[in-house]
C-alpha cells in the first residue's frame, strides 16, 4: 500500500509543479507583452530622436539608429526658440507650484486643525473645483484676463493654473496633516511656542514628504497644461513648451520629425525625474496617509 501511496503523491506534486510553472510562464509572457506594447511609443520616441535626419525618410524604419546622432537636438536649440519655451514653462510651473504650496499648505492646515462649520463647507466646495471642465472656466477667465490687461503674460498662466493646483494641494495636504498627531503641536505650545511657531518648527518638517509629493503633482500639472496656454498667450516670447510643440505638430513640413521628437524627449525628462523622486510615496502616501507621530 505504501508504494501506490507514494506514486500518487509524486504524481500530484508533479502536476502541481507543472501548473505553477505554466501559470508563472503565462504571467511572465503577459507582463512582457504589455510592457512592450505600452512602452514601445516611448522607446520609439527616444530612439528616433537620436537618428540623423536622413534616416527619417527612408522607407524601412529601423529600431535603433544606424548612426547615433545629436543632430536633432542641436538643430532644436539653434533653429528654434525651444530654450525660451522651456524657460517659460519653468517659470509658470515653479510659480504656480510654490504659490499653491504656501497658500494651500496654510489653508490645508487650517482645514485639518479647525472644525468650524464654515471650514467644513469650504472643504467640500474645493472638491467641486475638480468637477468643472477647463473649457467652462477658461471662457470667463479669459474675459477677466483681457479686462485686467494680463493678456499674453506668464502671470496669467501662473494664477490660472492655481485653479487646479490649489484644490489638489488643499485636498492632499489636509489628509496629510490629519495624519500628524495634534499632540505634537500642543506639546510645542505648552513648551513655549505660539501656534505659528509650533506649525513652523514641528508640523512643517513632518509634512515635508507630503509637500514634496504635492509639489511634484502640481508642477507636472502646470508643466503639461495646454488649454490655458493656448488661450491666454499668443506671442512667441511668452509661449510655453506645450504651446510651442503644439504649433509645430501641424507644421511637420517645416520642422522635421527629428526635431519634434527631440523636443518631446526634453519636455518629458523633468516630469520623469520628478516621478522617480516621489514614486515610493506615490502609492504609499495615498493609501496610508503619511508619517506616524512616534
Amino acid at each position: 500500500m505504501s508504494k501506490s501511496h507514494s506514486t500518487s503523491d509524486h504524481y500530484l506534486v508533479a502536476v502541481t509543479r507543472l501548473n505553477e510553472f505554466s501559470r508563472t510562464l503565462t504571467h511572465a509572457l503577459l507582463v512582457l507583452v504589455i510592457c512592450t506594447v505600452v512602452g514601445f511609443p516611448l522607446f520609439w520616441m527616444v530612439a528616433s530622436s537620436f537618428k540623423p535626419p536622413s534616416e527619417f525618410y527612408s522607407t524601412v524604419p529601423t529600431f535603433f539608429p544606424n548612426v547615433w546622432s545629436l543632430e536633432n537636438y542641436r538643430m532644436l536649440f539653434s533653429q528654434t526658440s525651444f530654450a525660451s519655451y522651456f524657460l517659460n514653462s519653468l517659470i509658470v510651473a515653479v510659480g504656480a507650484t510654490s504659490l499653491s504650496l504656501v497658500i494651500g499648505g496654510l489653508g490645508a492646515y487650517a482645514l485639518s486643525r479647525f472644525h468650524f462649520r464654515v471650514v467644513r463647507i469650504f472643504s467640500q466646495l474645493t472638491l467641486l473645483g475638480y468637477m468643472l471642465p477647463e473649457v467652462l472656466i477658461v471662457i470667463p477667465l479669459y474675459m477677466y484676463v483681457l479686462k485686467l490687461g494680463l493678456a499674453d503674460t506668464l502671470l496669467s498662466l501662473i494664477i490660472s493654473n492655481m485653479a487646479f493646483t490649489l484644490p489638489l494641494t488643499l485636498w492632499y495636504m489636509r489628509a496629510y496633516f490629519n495624519a500628524i498627531p495634534i499632540t505634537l503641536e500642543e506639546s510645542a505650545m505648552v513648551e513655549g511656542c505660539t501656534r505659528l511657531q509650533a506649525f513652523w518648527r514641528v508640523v512643517v518638517p513632518l509634512a515635508l514628504p507630503g509637500l514634496v509629493s504635492t509639489g511634484v503633482f502640481a508642477f507636472n500639472h502646470a508643466w503639461n497644461e495646454f488649454l490655458f496656454a493656448l488661450v491666454f498667450t499668443s506671442s512667441e516670447r511668452n509661449k510655453v513648451l506645450t504651446m510651442g510643440l503644439a504649433t509645430w505638430i501641424g507644421q511637420d513640413a517645416i520642422f522635421s520629425w527629428g526635431m519634434l521628437l527631440s523636443a518631446a524627449v526634453l519636455v518629458t525628462i523633468p516630469v520623469m525625474l520628478f516621478y522617480l523622486l516621489v514614486q515610493k510615496q506615490l502609492v504609499v502616501g495615498l493609501t496610508s496617509g503619511g508619517t506616524k507621530g512616534e
Binding site: L106, G107, L125, T126, I139, P140, W257, A264
Partner: protein, 297 residues
C-alpha cells in the same frame, strides 16, 4: 499681559490661514461659473462692449445646431469607448502587477509612464507612429499582411475617432491601474489563504474575495475617469483638431471653437453649460447604478 482668549485667537488664525485660498478659489472657480451662467443668457461677442440680455435664446440655438448633436454623439462614443476599455485593461494589468515577480518595479514604471508624460508629447509620438507614410504602425501592419494599403488613421472620418480612443486609452489607463493596485494591496492576504485551504480555485477567489473588495473603488474610478474624459480637450484638439469633418469634435472642442474661433462667447457659454448639465445626468445615472450594485452585496 492678558492675551485674547484661545477660542477667538483660534478663529482668527484659522480665518487668516484660509483667506488666501478662499479668495483665489472664489475668483478662479466660483466667479467664473457664475460668469458663464451669465454669459449664456446674454449675447456676448468678443470685442463687443455691450452684452444685451437674450434670455434662453442661446440655448434654443444650441438645440437646433446640428454640430451640437454631432458633438454630443462623438462625446458619448469617446467617453464610453475610452473609459470602458481603460477600466477593463486597467483592472487586468493591475491584477498582473499585483503578484511579486522579478522586475516588478521596472514593469510598473513602464506601465505608469504614459500617464506622466505631457499630453502634447503623447500626441506628437502617436501622430508620428500613425503617420500614413512614415509611421511604424502602418509599416508593421503592411509587413504582417493584415492590411493592403496604408491606413489613414487620423485623416479618415470613419477611423479617426477610433484612433483618438486608442491614444486616449494608452495615455490614461495607468490611472486605473494605480487606483486598483492600491485596493488590491490592501486586501488582507489571509482571506486568500483561508480560501485556498477551503479549496477555492483562482477564479472563485477572484469572484468572491477580490471583486467585492474592488467594487467601490472600481465604481469610483469609473466615475472619475468618465468625468475627466468627458471634459478632455487637449488630447483631441491636438490629435485631430476636431476633424476630419467634425468626426472627432466632442463637446469641449466645440465649445472652444465657438468661443475662440467664432468669438461667440454667449453661445459657447450656453454650450458649456449644457455640457456640464449632461455630465450631471451621467453622474446621477452612475450613482443610481452604483447604489444598486452595492445593495446587491
Amino acid at each position: 499681559m492678558r492675551n485674547l482668549t484661545s477660542e477667538t485667537e483660534n478663529r482668527a488664525i484659522a480665518a487668516l490661514a484660509l483667506l488666501p485660498s478662499f479668495v483665489i478659489l472664489l475668483v478662479l472657480v466660483a466667479l467664473p461659473t457664475f460668469s458663464v451662467a451669465l454669459y449664456s443668457l446674454q449675447d456676448v461677442q468678443m470685442g463687443e462692449a455691450s452684452h444685451p440680455f437674450v434670455g434662453l435664446e442661446n440655448f434654443q440655438w444650441a438645440l437646433s445646431y446640428a454640430p451640437f448633436w454631432n458633438a454630443l454623439t462623438n462625446t458619448l462614443v469617446w467617453v464610453f469607448g475610452s473609459v470602458g476599455i481603460e477600466m477593463v485593461v486597467g483592472v487586468f494589468i493591475a491584477l498582473l502587477l499585483n503578484k511579486n515577480f522579478v522586475g516588478r518595479g521596472i514593469a510598473r514604471a513602464i506601465v505608469f509612464a504614459p500617464y506622466l508624460i505631457p499630453t502634447v508629447v503623447a500626441v506628437l509620438v502617436w501622430r508620428y507612429m500613425f503617420h500614413d507614410v512614415l509611421g511604424v504602425v502602418n509599416y508593421f501592419l503592411l509587413k504582417a499582411g493584415w492590411i493592403n494599403e496604408p491606413v489613414n488613421w487620423l485623416s479618415s472620418p470613419k477611423i479617426a475617432m477610433m484612433t483618438v480612443i486608442i491614444v486616449g486609452v494608452w495615455k490614461f489607463f495607468p490611472f486605473v491601474v494605480l487606483a486598483i493596485l492600491g485596493v488590491l494591496q490592501a486586501i488582507p492576504q489571509d482571506q486568500y489563504e483561508a480560501a485556498k485551504i477551503d479549496g477555492a480555485s483562482e477564479w472563485q477567489q477572484f469572484w468572491r474575495i477580490t471583486l467585492p473588495h474592488l467594487m467601490p473603488i472600481f465604481l469610483l474610478t469609473t466615475l472619475l475617469r468618465s468625468i475627466w474624459t468627458f471634459h478632455k480637450f487637449d488630447i483631441i484638439y491636438l490629435l485631430t483638431g476636431g476633424g476630419p469633418v467634425g468626426s472627432t469634435t466632442t463637446l469641449p472642442v466645440l465649445v472652444y471653437q465657438k468661443a475662440f474661433a467664432d468669438f461667440e462667447i454667449g453661445r459657447a457659454s450656453a454650450l458649456a453649460f449644457i455640457t456640464a448639465f449632461l455630465l450631471t445626468i451621467l453622474l446621477l445615472i452612475y450613482f443610481y447604478l452604483s447604489k444598486r450594485v452595492e445593495a446587491r452585496q
